[in-house]
Point group: C2
Chain length 334, copies 2
DNA sequence: GACGGCAGTTGAATCGTTTCATAACCATAG
DNA sequence: CTATGGTTATGAAACGATTCAACTGCCGTC
């Protein structure tokens, strides 16, 4: 098994010094053309590949950005991750992805790993309390950007979406389509996104003078949507809501399936709107109206913020960016 | 901004040599208890975090394993990735994930990156020709394991699933449930998985004397499933198949939705079976029968193979492991 | 012909960890 | 009191790329 070549070997073959080889790799404009080509052919001949560990050691930091998301199985977060990854790649940086599965322990172990790797910066969709952790990253010179969560003290930049506005959008749309008895289905309310969406729903319902019923779920999943739908179907039709705002698309799809199987017409008998606009929303039994969040854009923006702070080292650059969600109307409410 | 502490600083504070600090970190059994605790409190006090780049440089390789999959949006591959990631974590190794999106260029750039990082090994679900690339990795002492693809010459180990057997399982089940006119829906046939599944379906249909109709699609997606279903519904009922084997679950879900909306009863009028057993299969309008592949197990096995070869350095350890798929019966065929 | 300036090149020092041959220490046996 | 063995601790060398001050030619100027 042949040992891999180092800059030293390349230098020897090309009859130059190691410094020159390094310059060919990193500052080719400082080296004469003939030398460049001689070195490059030596590189090709030896199959030389730069050892990233040595480069990082000297540089003091890697060129990777750490990203911790709440849940890999949630399409919203995977879209954010993909957006971040692609945008980072265009700057020649890579993204290391970890999923905390909403467990503070896992979150901590990923942050430890990222510190060991001396990442350029961290994007974090946090569980629980992180202020002290952010302080520590900052003291190490590692900038952090919060994703989908705002922290009051400007201890870090953040990129988020206005979930209250999203809740307002959804319920206003249902009422404009003629709904007179609206229900919000979702939970647990400990999740900020859920409570914000409910809050938005509630205020707009009050403003427009329409009653809003709150139905709590244990999780934002398809089975929970089905369970709630079955419970609603037990009521006599006149006491059912005529429009439902589900806290995410998975719940909405569960509702749709059960209504559909029971012969309840969507949207004529009951209109349904979801949240997140995941890929499956458009291809559900009845194409599902939803509130769309600019997930890829969130990822890109977070990368921009973290790179800017890493480059300037200036905490004054911190910003809290809030995007606005958008209403996507499909058959389930039209 | 405080500089981060090194082993040298820790050694000074704990009044020991750098070698001892390193031993506390890596071989604590060689160090006396009192020294261990003294060093550990120094580590805590300074907030010392080991610099991974320096460690790797010394070790000659990182403790990460590179994984290149064909498509991040395919649940089968993300399950493989998750299985690999979790299993690797139990050995203290991490997995770096890249998606080639079926483009040879992207595949190559990820392999280059992995070589720069001196990964411990590579798991690869290849696009196109890779033999020469595998040779090169081998000459660098980086073992590779192919995922979901077999290469005839034993140039690398491989882990795959027997798709022909899967096709046989699916169609035998349909016929045992009473089907007398079976259709296979899927494509493009350039994808080995598709052609293998069709081949298995075809042989078993022949053996049992049941006619098999092949209906080609452009992709393995929900919309293509809906398109085919609409075309079938144009035929008079007696000329429709009474059972359909879809090349994957997305196509099957598309079929189900359109049949359901048209009032065709599944499975009474037409039985439907899919392939992959993705999470959505169990929660479809009609819970979908499917052929399940042990995706997490594939990931775990690939990790085992690559670590074994990395540890022994012995190419004789190479193996080609083929798993058998399993039939999962749900309402759509029962 | 002395000098400054410039482009190209050199090679030693550096980053932070791990390893390993060596040393120091202590206890027990002869 | 010495020899033997075992346990701990030491510190210099090594890993491989990058940097930077110093150096070499070479040209043009006064």
């Amino acid at each position: 098994m042949m040992e891999s070549a180092s800059v030293r070997d390349v230098a020897a073959l090309a009859q130059v010094s190691v410094g020159t080889v390094s310059n060919v790799l990193n500052h080719p404009e400082k080296v004469s053309e003939t030398t460049v080509s001689r070195v490059q052919s030596a590189i090709r001949e030896l199959g030389f590949i730069r050892n990233d560990a040595a480069r990082q050691l000297r540089a003091g930091h890697s060129n990777a950005i750490g990203l911790v998301i709440l849940d890999v199985t949630n399409p919203f977060f995977t879209d954010v991750a993909r957006g971040a990854q692609q945008h980072a790649a265009s700057f020649g940086k890579s993204v290391i992805l970890g999923s905390s599965d909403e467990k503070p322990d896992l979150e901590r172990s990923y942050l430890d790993l990222f510190e060991e790797q001396r990442v350029l910066g961290v994007l974090l969709s946090p569980v629980g309390e992180v202020t002290s952790r952010l302080e520590r990253l900052r003291s190490r010179g590692i900038p952090a950007v919060l994703v989908d969560r705002i922290i009051p003290d400007a201890v870090a930049s953040s990129v988020s979406v206005d979930d209250v506005a999203g809740g307002r959008l959804a319920v206003r749309h249902l009422i404009e389509q003629g709904a007179s008895r609206v229900a919000f289905v979702g939970g647990p309310f400990g999740i900020r996104q859920v409570s914000d969406r409910a809050a938005g729903a509630s205020t707009v319902a009050q403003e427009l003078g329409v009653p809003l019923e709150i139905i709590a779920t244990d999780a934002l999943s398809i089975p929970e949507g089905r369970r709630v739908a079955s419970e609603l179907l037990v009521r006599e039709p006149a006491r059912r809501p005529d429009a439902v705002f589900a806290a995410n698309d998975l719940v909405a799809i569960g509702l749709l399936q059960t209504f559909f199987a029971a012969g309840v017409a969507v949207p004529r008998d009951i209109a349904v709107i979801g949240y997140d606009d995941i890929g499956f929303a458009a291809t559900a039994v009845v194409p599902l109206s939803s509130i769309s969040q600019p997930s890829a854009l969130i990822g890109r923006t977070a990368i921009d913020l973290v790179l800017a702070e890493a480059a300037s080292g200036d905490p004054a650059d911190r910003q809290a960016i809030v995007f606005q969600p958008e209403l996507v109307v499909r058959d389930s409410t039209a």
